[in-house]
Symmetry: C2
Subunit: 510 residues, 2 copies
């Protein structure tokens, strides 16, 4: 097997040889010296994933009133076969992520090619040169059993390794800003002891040079405002000591739009870490509540979405109310309550747990089964039933399939021996369900369908006209609307054309 | 026993005799004829409780551009010993409720004495004269076991009687507007059949004269904006048929501030009834979530209120987040989820229930036990411990004790053999705990206290200076802050003066 890393477009990038690595390290020193002479501080971003790569670009784009950049940014990505390709791709000024946000390619081109303030590398050595390290290592929760989030845990092995690398390499004055969503207590109970241990091994006196560790969480949203969601948002932060807090405030103030979105300082990293997991638990719980009301609405002829709209008129007290759907996906609401619950028990050794939040995760994780029920209620046995699934990502107009509820839906429909054809214009491949072919064209999935499931609110699916859909189907399928994607007018049209229509929370159409 | 009704101020009002009732009925006819000649429609309000009496005054106050009142309002209260006194009191232009809202006495004086558009009566006969009946009968949920809201039910006996009275008396053109918070389905499954039955008995053809029934819920808040909370709010409404909807829209448009707070029409009364119970379930659930995070925060040195403030910076998505406290009281959040859960099972005969909402009610109902735990954790055995409780109402700056969490707290502290002295400047008597004397002056409860509990955020308690409190106590009591009523500065001062301070969700003070 060749020692190459293959990008999503199929291009192969050779993993650097030892000689190339040595040359790269020399180059890093040279670049860093040049940048310091220009008055810039040096930032290293650890992990060029979904958050890290754009955060790196935002930091590299930050400039003072006169347009002088504050920072030079080294993005660091390990030279693994899976991810090394990001390094050479970024260094041509191209983002390593697909996005509908036009600012994403712009900011990569501007910082890498024009300003030359952003460069990626696979050499860990880069941490020896940094004034600030921004930690964007991915950290997931593992839920070993479906619908039993209480058994979920957080494997910190990889994260700890990353921290150990920093402890071995960074200069004592370097501020480590943890941006990864972590279990509450991580900065104090995981990051600090590792850095202290490694500093001590290196002969650094941690009394005079305590590690400088801060935490500030992002609130990135994929989609058309991807870059803005990092730069233009109310950041919450704290640090493990006053100097960390000072440096973190300075860094965030330089990089982000704090005039419009002021910073909020909390008393401790425990508090800041808790804020992130609590805010996502809040949203997860609000969604979980809606499912039982959706079921109730379905059975008494009520449209829960109209009820929700009525309630949400009360701004400031009721307008956060979320909505029922196929289910909850993505990377935050599905795991953050689990991180916090696990932390409570495993990092702090406390009794009890975050039962409301965990119960909500369970309700949300199993929510797609309600759509299975809706279909079975109409069709009975699903053996050989042909189902066309419109949308497999977890969010409208985005191709991100992480923890997508469509995955659960497909898995359970297949258990019922249904034939499921999947379509999504934003998704090329579905890493979580590799044997499923995701079509981009509805003509590949609709013909002959017994059921058409509107699973995700992509614009492409919301504009579809009933007649058009049925002409392609050539059948009178059961139409299932998972989250109010069809207007009352369209529902009436489907019915007039001879279809049954059902939907989550939509009792008025029965 | 004299046949009198005794007002809260001790004044006695004789219950009307048969002759007096007959004279009153003649007077009602005369007044109504006069009012009709002045072009006014006639409204009867059924039930002059907390909502009904102010709603009646708001309707009586409604006028067109030229200041001509739209309606004459007959407020109806049955001639019971418990409540008849309201009739003569209102008819002197005095409100039958105490309130910190200066608009309450103003609107009663204006409508009863100046405009003469509002009058109270104890004669049911009044319903024969009405164009509109506004139903404000109180309807409660019964929870037979503490912490087991799933066993809660709704006794509709009294409500059904009220509807039967209307069915027997109203004219066919009269619109019945149910404003009481009712179990979803009540208008369709309870009110409509009763009115149809009584209409039919009276020879009214319900095909040509179907009963006109609408539902629109209030969102009244006691306190300094009591009247405004009825008049200046986004109303949701619907009706059982198009004519009901039309009349209801017309009535609400005349009476309320719909220019600034537009009406929302829903498809059915089921939907409108669901909206009210769902919005309060939403709030109950949001509060229940906060308790487990408060417990977590207490144990890891975090101030949950600062975390909450940080999260709430995100307007529109996170700013509805509520806060932990001693517990949840009042008349809405404690019962509305129970009404809906009971309706699902008993009015609609459906399987399953509203588990998230009901679980939240249980968490909220038992929340005061957490404050008991906080005290026991510090003091161990509470036998003979003297506890001063500051606040027994369910809401700050209001004297309403209905379902107050202080009631649960006192009950459980007494079980622990503690001596509890209660204070509340807004509460004269505590009907739910009649053997407890409620002092208005802290000098009556603080001296010798081992524990001082800041239970309710009355302004009077928030301004108390630590030195002042301790001087009156003459002790160094444990200070317990139930919902962030003490600033960090005051907490530091209490500590400097030798007290321990603890609080719900306030881990940073330990």
């Amino acid at each position: 097997m060749k020692n190459v890393s293959i990008a999503p477009d199929g291009r192969e990038y050779p993993i650097p040889t030892a000689e190339e690595s040595a040359a790269e390290r020399d180059l890093l020193v040279k670049i860093t010296e040049e940048q310091r002479k220009m008055g810039r501080k040096i930032v290293a971003v650890q992990g060029l994933g979904f958050v890290g790569c754009v955060m790196a670009a935002v930091v590299a784009d930050a400039a003072d009133k006169d347009g002088n950049p504050y920072y030079f940014v080294h993005g660091h990505q390990r030279a693994s076969k899976r991810s090394f390709w990001k390094v050479p791709v970024i260094n041509t000024g191209v983002p390593p992520v697909a996005s509908s946000d036009p600012e994403v390619p712009e900011i990569f081109h501007r910082t890498v090619v024009e300003k030359k303030t952003f460069r990626a590398t696979s050499e860990e050595f880069v941490y020896t040169l940094a004034d600030v390290v921004v930690v964007d290592i991915q950290l997931d929760a593992t839920k070993p059993a479906f619908g039993e989030a209480e058994k979920g845990y957080c494997d910190l092995t990889h994260f700890r390794e990353g921290m150990r690398t920093l402890g071995q390499l960074i200069q004592p004055h370097c501020m480590v800003l943890v941006e990864t969503t972590v279990p509450p207590g991580t900065c104090e109970k995981v990051v600090k002891p590792i850095l202290e241990e490694e500093f001590t091994k290196r002969g650094i006196d941690i009394k005079t040079n305590p590690p400088l560790i801060a935490h500030s969480y992002e609130r990135v949203m994929p989609g058309s405002k991807y870059v803005s969601s990092i730069r233009d948002f109310w950041r919450v932060f704290s640090g493990v000591n006053p100097q960390s807090i000072k440096l973190c405030r300075e860094f965030l103030t330089n990089c982000l739009n704090v005039d419009e979105f002021p910073l909020t300082q909390l008393d401790s990293t425990n508090a800041s870490e808790m804020a992130k997991t609590m805010e996502n638990s809040y949203r997860a719980t609000n969604i979980a509540l809606t499912l039982e009301w959706a079921r109730f609405a379905e059975q008494i002829g009520v449209d829960i979405f109209k009820v929700r709209d009525a309630i949400r008129k009360r701004k400031g007290t009721h307008d956060n109310m979320l909505r029922p759907s196929l289910g909850v996906g993505g990377y935050c609401l599905t795991k953050d309550p689990v991180l916090a619950n696990w932390s409570m028990q495993s990092l702090f050794g406390l009794e009890g747990g975050l039962d409301v939040a965990i119960n909500s995760v369970n309700i949300n994780d199993t929510m797609p089964l309600h759509t299975v029920e809706i279909i079975k209620k109409e069709l009975g046995n699903l053996n050989n039933i042909k189902i066309a699934l419109l949308g497999v990502s977890y969010l409208e107009n985005v191709g991100d399939t992480r923890h997508s509820p469509s995955e659960t839906l497909v898995t359970f429909l297949r258990k019922e021996m249904a034939t499921v054809k999947c379509c999504d214009p934003y998704v090329e491949s579905w890493p979580e369900l590799e044997d499923v072919k995701v079509e981009s064209d509805i003509h590949q999935v609709l013909p002959g369908a017994d059921v058409v499931v509107f699973a995700v609110g992509h614009d492409e699916y919301k504009v579809l006209k009933p007649k058009e859909v049925l002409d392609i189907c050539g059948t009178k399928p059961l139409i299932v609307d998972c989250s109010n994607f069809l207007t009352d007018e369209k529902i009436a049209e489907y019915k007039a054309l001879g279809c049954k229509v059902r939907g989550v929370g939509k009792g008025h159409i029965v």
